[in-house]
């Protein structure tokens, strides 16, 4: 009885998948998107990129949920976060995920970069993907910093002020950079509006297409050190060695016959 129910359920599942595949091609797309050959060596290290993508997706989702309550004004920002943490159902849970996944994201993205560097995955033809990755890590860092300021508590406020002081030391554009980020020559409501706009709209809008480009380039060149890459390289080496041996043999033969 149980075996029959199991078999029937499995068949229904298959039928449903076939039905979807016929009409949308969804399974083929998913298969193409999800499967990427990776080398046997390294194993879990190759999941760091996927983990980064997962954490960024989590940031987007929880960030959207936080926007339902967060008020970007100097008088209400901290209070609205207090409300999320103490009054809203699951507020602590949603903000906790946003906060901790942001911290873990910085760690994972750093590890991903270290792995890429140490394995030499930035070498030709993958230089462009390395450059895109550098921009991505830069954007994520600024996102983390602006997110810190959005709390508008003493820690966040003074962190932002220290950031402004550092920006003011930039040669030639220091003054422009600070007044642009402050929204004037003092910190105030305009500052928080700008931090909010940068954190919620500007940087995510820059992040999303760059992630797309990063993934496209990964798909184009494949994971560095993948099995096929090694086999191709080994085949080339073997051919080169054979050629050298053949030439050496020919030379020996010529010498043996006295150069005739």
């Amino acid at each position: 009885m149980i075996a029959r129910t199991k078999a029937r359920t499995r068949q229904w599942g298959r039928d449903l998948a076939d039905w979807m595949e016929e009409r949308t091609g969804l399974l083929s797309i998913a298969e193409k998107l999800l499967y990427e050959p990776t080398p046997k060596r390294g194993k879990w290290l190759y999941t760091l990129g996927s983990a980064t993508l997962f954490l960024i997706t989590l940031q987007f989702l929880t960030g959207i949920l936080l926007l339902f309550y967060y008020v970007p004004s100097t008088d209400e920002a901290w209070d609205s976060i207090y409300y999320i943490m103490n009054e809203a159902y699951f507020g602590q849970y949603i903000r906790g995920i946003h906060f901790w996944s942001a911290n873990v994201l910085l760690l994972v993205i750093g590890l991903h970069m270290v792995t890429t560097f140490l394995s030499g995955s930035y070498k030709p033809p993958r230089e462009m993907n390395w450059v895109v990755g550098v921009f991505l890590i830069l954007i994520v860092t600024i996102l983390a910093f602006t997110g810190y300021a959005l709390r508008w508590d003493m820690e966040g406020f003074y962190a932002w002020e220290v950031g402004m002081k550092i920006a003011s030391y930039m040669p030639l554009i220091g003054d422009w950079m600070v007044t642009f980020l402050l929204g004037g020559d003092t910190a105030g409501p305009a500052t928080l509006s700008r931090v909010f706009a940068i954190h919620v709209w500007l940087l995510p809008a820059a992040l999303a297409p760059l992630i797309g480009l990063h993934l496209y380039l990964l798909r184009k060149h494949g994971e560095f050190g993948a099995a096929f890459e090694y086999s191709e390289r080994l085949a080339k080496l073997r051919r080169r060695r054979q050629m050298r041996e053949y030439l050496e043999e020919e030379e020996d033969e010529k010498r043996a016959t006295g150069g005739e």
Binding site: Y158, M164, K165, T179, T186, A190
Partner: protein, 217 residues
């Protein structure tokens, strides 16, 4: 002959026309948004405008400043940013007017109380010569460290002003004596009235870096 050599279907005139139209469209699409977001920077850097109106604010009295240590005074300045740009109806008494609070450190030069204040009655008005002398002897400083902007504090045992963030040290006159700050504390523009009242403006300067701006609250 010229037609035979012309391999590209686009003529030179068409190319120039398209280039001009493209440039024009590019300018229309990019320049206004850039200027729009840079509005505060243009007003501050190019036009020299400040968010804080240049007006005097009461700080305290010279008779309240003791010898050997600076006192901290909280001064509230009006602040006009995007939410209050002077539009009609935007500024109402006690409502919709932004403010920023500055912590102002006030001390006597080298911590020594001026002799003319010793045993003097507060009722007796100060003469202009006395006001001039007191002005020379008074330090009116902002409490933001000139290194990274952290709030500094007076340490009575060491007789120094210390920044807790990176260990910047200043003497009682606000002069930099140690640590990473590039120069001394920012000095406010201030005046002393006949009754001994000190008034400050949200206008700061420092001798060592005349062209630098504080960028603090």
């Amino acid at each position: 002959m010229a037609d035979e050599l012309q391999k590209d279907p686009m003529s030179r005139g068409q190319f120039l026309y398209l280039g001009a139209v493209g440039t024009g469209m590019g300018i229309v699409l990019t320049v206004p948004p850039v200027i729009y977001v840079l509005d505060p920077a243009i007003k501050s850097v190019l036009q020299g405008r400040s968010d804080v109106p240049s007006e005097w604010k009461e700080l305290g009295s010279v008779y309240e400043i003791p010898a050997e240590e600076p006192t901290v005074h909280l001064v509230e300045f009006a602040q006009r940013q995007t939410f209050d740009a002077g539009q009609p109806g935007a500024v109402r008494e006690g409502d919709n007017v932004g403010t920023i609070t500055n912590a102002v450190l006030v001390s006597w030069k080298d911590g020594r109380l001026p002799s003319l204040l010793e045993g003097r009655s507060e009722e007796e008005p100060l003469s202009s010569a006395e006001i001039e002398e007191l002005t020379r002897e008074l330090n009116v400083m902002n409490n933001a460290c000139t290194h990274m902007g952290c709030p500094v504090r007076w340490r009575a045992e060491e007789k120094e002003i210390l920044c807790p963030c990176h260990g910047g040290i200043y003497d009682i006159n606000g002069m930099h004596t140690g640590g990473p700050p590039p120069h001394g504390l920012w000095n406010y523009t201030f005046e002393i009235r006949e009754d001994g009242a000190i008034r400050v403006k949200h206008d700061m300067h420092v001798k060592e870096a005349p062209r630098e701006k504080p960028y603090i609250v």
